[in-house]
């Protein structure tokens, strides 16, 4: 019985049974669909508050989303040892967390679901309330003169409040090099380091008697990871009697949701170094299913119970087994030769974060640049470890150069060149140059091409939308992958390249 269980086929069957049981349970009992739904776009947006407790009673106030989108759902807070209540200030919801004596670094999470495309960016001013009035801008001397000039120019080219605002936005987007604008830009940058565009725009609006106030939004973008909030402005359009929410420089609001119309996001009493960051990820399962799973006692079965910001790293890490499977298939079934066994998987991960063409060009330039440097080094007959270390330094310098260069020519992709694993690259260069010396250039290039093909295949596997969905909601799938890989470990048939290698054997014997 035990012998049976520990044989490979026994192990494989156990793995598949376990995995199937988990999948069937989730699908039948918790009603989690087996494939991601294509048409739904629900985002999980999470605010993560962190601060250092000073050992005294603490009160944390976070502006909560209320009016930012249609059908707001109730949010969920995750914290240890805090009392939580929601109060309304001027009709805007604010969440209060309080605790008597928290210690050290504290984390509080608040998350809420947002349906894509339901963001609201216009708010009618209640008829009963008296119309808002613009604040007064106190700018004297040359500053006032310069502002007046800009306001006048914008007023000349606009017909009403809306067109005036768009003139101001264009101005901030173009940032003309003219003397007065540059002078003002320097002034505002110095006075309001992080929010100078917002303050500048608001002063220009208020000088034209347009009432406005700051508000805060969040960008719905998975790739961003943890982000700060986005600074927005809402202004009062006197003709239409509505408030409009816009970006100071007129950028697209398409994937930005308004989190709060309150002026401040976070206030912490009794703590210091407080900070709030946001993480947005796409919820690939229907809202109900995710809830049921998070509450299910089978906690091991899902990573969706984790706070969103802690879950984000898994997004890529849990995909690695799919890439590894691709490499196993290519090496043992096709017989592709690669530089380093799982180096292609790491490259594939890099491809996930960069457009592939840019990634390949950057990789090849770094590889051959490093190789040229390595060829230079080989004259000195260095020992291996210092030699590879020197390569790491060179690769680092190359990365900086590529970043700078692509920034100068305006290609943003280059800036993320650091997604390439440096140490792996250096070893790849080392191995490649050894092969170059021992077996010739053709063999070395053949292996580079093999590695690239494997990297693209690994990328392809990890890119599959269903794969991403499964690792998040059906991590049991990994057991099936394990079973497949174990079975492949027993494959003793020919590799595809061997059919080529032994092609003449058939001729000789016939």
């Amino acid at each position: 019985m035990f012998k049976r269980l520990f044989s490979l086929s026994g192990l494989v069957s156990v793995l598949i049974l376990l995995s199937a049981a988990g999948i069937i349970y989730k699908n039948r009992v918790l009603h989690v669909p087996l494939l991601p739904k294509q048409d739904q776009d629900i985002w999980l947006v999470e605010a993560r508050i962190s601060y250092e407790a000073k050992g005294e009673p603490v009160k944390v106030a976070l502006a909560l989303p209320g009016e930012g989108w249609e059908n707001p759902t109730e949010g969920q807070q995750i914290s240890l040892g805090y009392g939580f209540s929601v109060e309304h200030e001027d009709g805007k919801p604010v969440g209060f967390w309080s605790a008597r004596e928290p210690k050290n670094r504290q984390l509080i999470y608040y998350r809420v679901r947002v349906e894509e495309g339901t963001g609201r960016y216009e708010f009618r001013q209640p008829r009963s309330a008296k119309p808002p009035e613009a604040g007064e801008v106190r700018a004297k001397g040359s500053l006032g003169v310069a502002l007046e000039a800009l306001v006048e120019a914008a007023r000349q080219r606009s017909a009403d409040d809306v067109t005036y605002v768009s003139q101001v936005q264009q101005l901030l987007k173009k940032k003309p090099d003219s003397g007065s604008f540059a002078y003002l830009q320097r002034y505002y940058e110095k006075k309001y380091p992080d929010v100078w565009e917002r303050e500048f725009a608001m002063d220009l609006l208020e000088m034209a008697d347009i009432a406005c106030r700051p508000c805060l939004g969040v960008k719905l973008e998975e790739e961003r990871g943890a982000q700060r909030h986005i600074n927005l402005i809402e202004y009062y359009d006197r003709a239409e009697n509505v408030w409009h929410v816009v970006l100071p420089d007129g950028g697209s609001m398409a994937n930005i949701v308004l989190w709060t119309r309150a002026r401040s996001m976070l206030e912490v009493y009794g703590g210091e170094n407080s900070e709030v960051t946001f993480t947005a990820i796409k919820e690939r399962a229907p809202a109900g299913a995710a809830e049921r799973m998070a509450q299910s006692p089978w906690w091991i079965a899902t990573i969706s119970a984790l706070p969103v910001s802690e879950r984000a790293p898994f997004r890529y890490a849990a995909l690695i087994p799919f890439g590894v499977l691709a490499v196993v298939l290519l090496r043992n079934l096709v017989g592709l030769v690669t530089l380093g066994t799982f180096m292609p998987v790491l490259l594939g991960l890099a491809f996930l974060e960069l457009p592939m063409s840019a990634a390949i060009i950057m990789l090849l330039s770094m590889l051959f640049g490093g190789l040229a440097f390595r060829a230079m080094l080989s004259k000195f007959n260095l020992l291996v470890v210092p030699r590879v270390a020197a390569c790491v330094v060179i690769v680092t310098i190359f990365m900086m150069a590529v970043s700078l260069l692509s920034y100068k020519i305006g290609a943003v992709d280059g800036l993320r060149v650091t997604v390439f694993p440096m140490i792996v690259l250096a070893w790849t260069i080392e191995r490649m140059s050894l092969i170059w010396d021992e077996e010739g250039a053709i063999s070395a290039i053949y292996q580079v091409v093999g590695s690239l093909v494997a990297a693209v295949a690994a990328f392809g596997m990890m890119k599959i939308e269903a794969a991403r969905y499964w690792v998040e909601y059906f991590p049991e799938v990994l057991l099936i992958l394990l079973a497949i890989i174990l079975l492949l470990g027993r494959y003793t048939g020919y590799r595809l390249t061997e059919l080529f290698r032994f092609r003449s054997a058939a001729d000789i014997n016939s």
């Binding site: 021992e438 077996e439 494959y491």
Partner: protein
């Protein structure tokens, strides 16, 4: 039933019929089950191999000296004495890297096999590099062996373009299974690796004569650079070659093993190195798949464990000699 793609690919069915084995099969069925990790040290370190071989009374190139530390290099002159020809090589080098062959002296300078003259200082620097790990994979420290230079038997030297041809015998459970002669070409630059352009020549286990040759996967009968006949050549001291290779099993305990030997003009066959992961090109050189032979040996070893070396050779000759003749009959 020949399809156009047979020009480029053999069909798996046909390869299976021919008994050709692939890397997956070699590793999964023969290498992993039969070669214990702990024995690898005996073949991966040439110094260990040499000492073990001497214990078994197997002929090896005479070991003059081993340099283990940089400090010993002071004694270089005393060690080399008035020795005219010698080889310096790293104990754990791979693929022939770091091997320095000195053929003679000119005054206090040394003449390399290629005819280039170098100074004693160059020799010392070479040893230094070996000790520093320049030629060992992973850059770990190594020792340098100084040993006698083999003068290859003239029958074999005449078919090789520089570099001595070596004989490889593959064994399973100590039974010789297949053998080939590897001959350098201008393209392979004195090295005996088939994928670098060396010629592989299959040897009949019974007669010790060469039967078939491949260069880059294609059948050839004459050396591409020297235009000498490659087939029908007798390997001098063939019986001894088989005996020494076969004893390599007792020496290492490795079930799947390749032995590389060179036939010396004066001393006959000597063991150069043993290999725990011998390649598969030997099948092309012999125009025969390994599987039928490996399976026969597997059955034999299972049925009669603990057979001594001479009976193992007898078995192989009886079992595979007829097979070779049959295959040749089939070919004609």
């Amino acid at each position: 039933m020949k399809k156009w793609w047979h020009r480029w690919l053999a069909s798996p069915v046909e390869l299976r019929r021919l008994g050709v084995i692939g890397l997956n099969e070699r590793n999964g069925k023969y290498l992993l089950p039969n070669n214990q990790r702990k024995f690898y040290r005996k073949v991966d370190d040439k110094l260990v191999t040499k000492l073990l071989a001497q214990e078994m009374d197997l002929a090896v190139p005479e070991l003059y000296h081993v340099f283990r530390t940089q400090g010993e290099l002071k004694d270089m002159h005393a060690v080399l004495g008035d020795c005219d020809s010698f080889v310096i090589k790293p104990s754990r080098g791979s693929g022939g890297r770091g091997v320095l062959v000195i053929k003679g002296r000119r005054g206090d300078k040394f003449v390399k096999a290629s005819g280039v003259v170098i100074t004693a200082k160059d020799v010392v620097r070479h040893v230094r590099e070996i000790l520093g790990g320049l030629f060992s994979l992973g850059g770990s420290r190594d020792v340098a062996m100084v040993e006698a230079c083999i003068s290859c038997h003239h029958d074999l030297a005449k078919i090789s373009y520089q570099g001595a041809p070596d004989v490889r015998v593959i064994m399973l459970h100590g039974y010789p299974v297949m053998a080939m002669l590897r001959v350098a070409t201008r393209q392979s630059d004195g090295r005996a690796n088939l994928h670098q352009g060396a010629i592989g020549i299959g040897i009949d286990l019974v007669t010790g004569r060469t039967i078939h040759a491949v260069h880059h996967g294609d059948s050839v009968t004459r050396h591409p650079d020297l235009d000498t006949e490659l087939l029908g050549l007798y390997i001098p001291g063939w019986d001894q070659v088989l005996e020494m290779a076969t004893k390599g099993y007792e020496m290492t305990g490795l079930g799947y093993l390749g032995a590389d030997l060179i036939v010396d003009e004066a001393h006959g066959p000597v063991v150069i190195e043993l290999n725990a992961r011998p390649g598969l090109a030997i099948q092309l050189a012999n125009a025969t798949g390994l599987r039928h032979r490996l399976e026969k040996v597997e059955q034999q070893a299972l049925a009669h464990p603990g057979v001594n070396w001479s009976d193992r050779i007898k078995f192989s000759i009886a079992a595979f000699g007829t097979e070779v003749q049959a295959a040749e009959g089939f070919r004609n």
